[in-house]
Structures are given as structure tokens and as C-alpha cells.
């Protein structure tokens, strides 16, 4: 029991299949929106649905939901640094 706890949470098959179905549905929505609608809407879909899909993979498939707060904080820090770099670079090029 002690060992099982240390080795992490057992994610039920049902949860994994549900997440997979949700990922497929989100992909279908993303493809539909970007082919059928105006560019502004497809960029909005790209910026919302894509991180949502990545989040589902991170939280359920990669077990991040069941990890310690420390590891979660590290992941958010790395993503934060990446977003910060992208933001700063955009600030730089847009005021040249």
C-alpha cells in the first residue's frame, strides 16, 4: 500500500477514454472552425482550444492532476517563462 501510494495514482480506464474522446471532439471543432470561418475566429480557436487540448494531455494522460504541488508549480513556471519570452519578443519587434 505504501509502495502503491508512492508510485502514484491509478487513473481509471474510463477517465482515460473520456479524455481521449474529448480530445478528438476538440480537434474536430478546431478543424471545423479554422476551415469554415473567418481568420479572426480561427486564430481565437487556435489560441483557446490548442492550450486546452495540451492541458488535458498534461493533467490526465501525464498524471499532472495527481502530482505534488511542487511539480505542478514547476510546470507552470516553465510555461510562464516561455510565454514571457514570446511576449517580450513581440514587444521588441512591434516597437522597432
Amino acid at each position: 500500500m505504501e509502495h502503491a501510494e508512492e508510485q502514484g495514482h491509478v487513473v481509471p480506464y474510463r477517465t482515460l477514454v473520456k479524455v481521449w474522446l474529448l480530445l478528438l471532439i476538440l480537434t474536430a471543432v478546431l478543424v471545423f472552425v479554422s476551415t469554415a470561418f473567418h481568420e479572426a475566429l480561427s486564430v481565437a480557436a487556435l489560441l483557446t482550444l490548442t492550450p486546452l487540448k495540451a492541458g488535458l494531455v498534461f493533467f490526465y494522460f501525464m498524471h499532472l492532476k495527481y502530482e505534488r504541488p511542487f511539480l505542478k508549480a514547476m510546470v507552470f513556471m516553465v510555461l510562464g517563462v516561455l510565454i514571457l519570452f514570446i511576449g517580450l519578443t513581440f514587444l521588441d519587434i512591434s516597437y522597432r
Binding site: 508512492e6 508510485q7 491509478v10 487513473v11 480537434t27 481568420e39 498534461f58 519570452f85 514570446i86
Partner: protein, 206 residues
């Protein structure tokens, strides 16, 4: 073969440390691809029309098919981990096998896609590419580097999955010691996440 009981010589396993080490490696991967995503977003903001036209020539069907393949292969890896935790070795082996088949299908699609583009003269210094405006040249440069680097990761993933499959078969990975499988799973999911971003950036750019 040792007959000593396991508790006589306990093998030190730092499970949390091993997993954390894998995550640290994934962070470097995120920043590696992040650099390419940064380049992509800047050049797209500089050449929006060229990127739009570049995306038009890509095969959306193959891009979406590969997305479905990778998402499903992520599911099979995640199921393999749950299966080993529940002590179901057969299901673990089957899931890992299916994952490898999906990964090979992904690369086969990539081969079909790249050969078609190369036939049309779209490759570095290719006749069609040289006729294109600068933004489109950059788009294809990024397309080849991003999908190429990602493809190399898929190839590395196949090798890692094959080794893991053999470990499970030889009971080196078991229901009480499955950290290797979990770490390979983490790597494979990250390869999937990167593709999740590549699909809208490249294939749905039009």
C-alpha cells in the same frame, strides 16, 4: 541468479527523483520547441499573407489523420500505465505494441506527405520554393524544421517504446516497479502535445 530475499538487500529506488528528472528533461524539450514556436509566431506576424498561402499547399487530411493517430497512441500509452499498475501484463504489452504501430503509421504518413512536397519541387533550394515570396520560403523552412525535429522525436519514441516493451516482457517493469514505463509515457505524451500545436500552426494556417 540470486536467491536472496528482496528485503535482505533492498535496492534503493528514488521513484519521485526519477520522475522529476524526466520532467526536467521535458522542460528542456518544451523550451527547444518553444524557440521554434517563437520564430513561427514572429514571422507569421511579419508575413501573414505568405503564411496563409503556405498553409494552403499542405495536406490537411494527412495532418488531421496524424493528429488522430498520435492522440490515440497517447491513450494507449496511458492505458498501458494503468494496466501495469493493476498488474495486467498482457494488456500492457498489447497497448505498447499498438502504440508502436501507431507511431510507425505516423511516420509513414509523414513520408507520403514529404515525398509529395519534394516531388512538387518544394524543398530547401527546390525550384518551386525559389519562385515563392520570402514569407512562404520561411513558412516552408519552419514547416520542414518543426515537423522534421518532431519526426526525429517520434523515431526516438519508437526506440524507447520498443525497449520498454522488452522490459515489460522480461518482467523488468512490473506492477510494483513501473517508473521506466511511466517516464517513457511522459515523453510520448509530450511528443503528442507538440503535435497538438503543430497542427493548427502549420496545417490550419490557411
Amino acid at each position: 541468479m540470486s536467491t536472496a530475499p528482496a528485503h535482505a538487500h533492498p535496492v534503493h529506488k528514488d521513484y519521485q527523483g526519477a520522475k522529476f528528472g524526466m520532467w526536467l528533461f521535458l522542460f528542456t524539450e518544451i523550451l527547444l520547441f518553444g524557440g521554434l514556436f517563437l520564430l513561427y509566431s514572429i514571422y507569421r506576424s511579419m508575413y501573414p499573407i505568405d503564411f496563409h498561402n503556405g498553409g494552403k499547399h499542405l495536406n490537411v487530411i494527412i495532418g488531421v489523420a496524424n493528429t488522430v493517430i498520435l492522440l490515440t497512441s497517447s491513450l494507449t500509452v496511458a492505458v498501458a500505465i494503468t494496466a501495469i499498475q493493476k498488474g495486467n501484463k498482457k494488456l500492457t504489452l498489447a497497448c505498447l505494441g499498438v502504440t508502436i504501430v501507431f507511431a510507425l503509421m505516423f511516420l509513414a504518413n509523414k513520408y507520403i506527405e514529404w515525398s509529395a512536397e519534394i516531388r512538387h519541387g518544394i524543398y530547401p533550394n527546390g525550384p518551386e520554393l525559389l519562385k515563392m515570396p520570402n514569407g512562404e520560403k520561411i513558412f516552408y523552412g519552419l514547416y520542414y524544421s518543426m515537423t522534421g525535429l518532431h519526426g526525429l522525436h517520434v523515431l526516438a519514441g519508437i526506440i524507447a517504446l520498443l525497449i520498454t516493451l522488452d522490459f515489460v516482457r522480461r518482467d523488468k517493469i512490473t506492477g510494483t516497479d513501473f517508473n521506466k514505463l511511466e517516464n517513457v509515457g511522459l515523453y510520448w505524451h509530450l511528443v503528442d502535445v507538440i503535435w497538438i500545436f503543430l497542427l493548427p500552426l502549420l496545417y490550419l494556417a490557411a
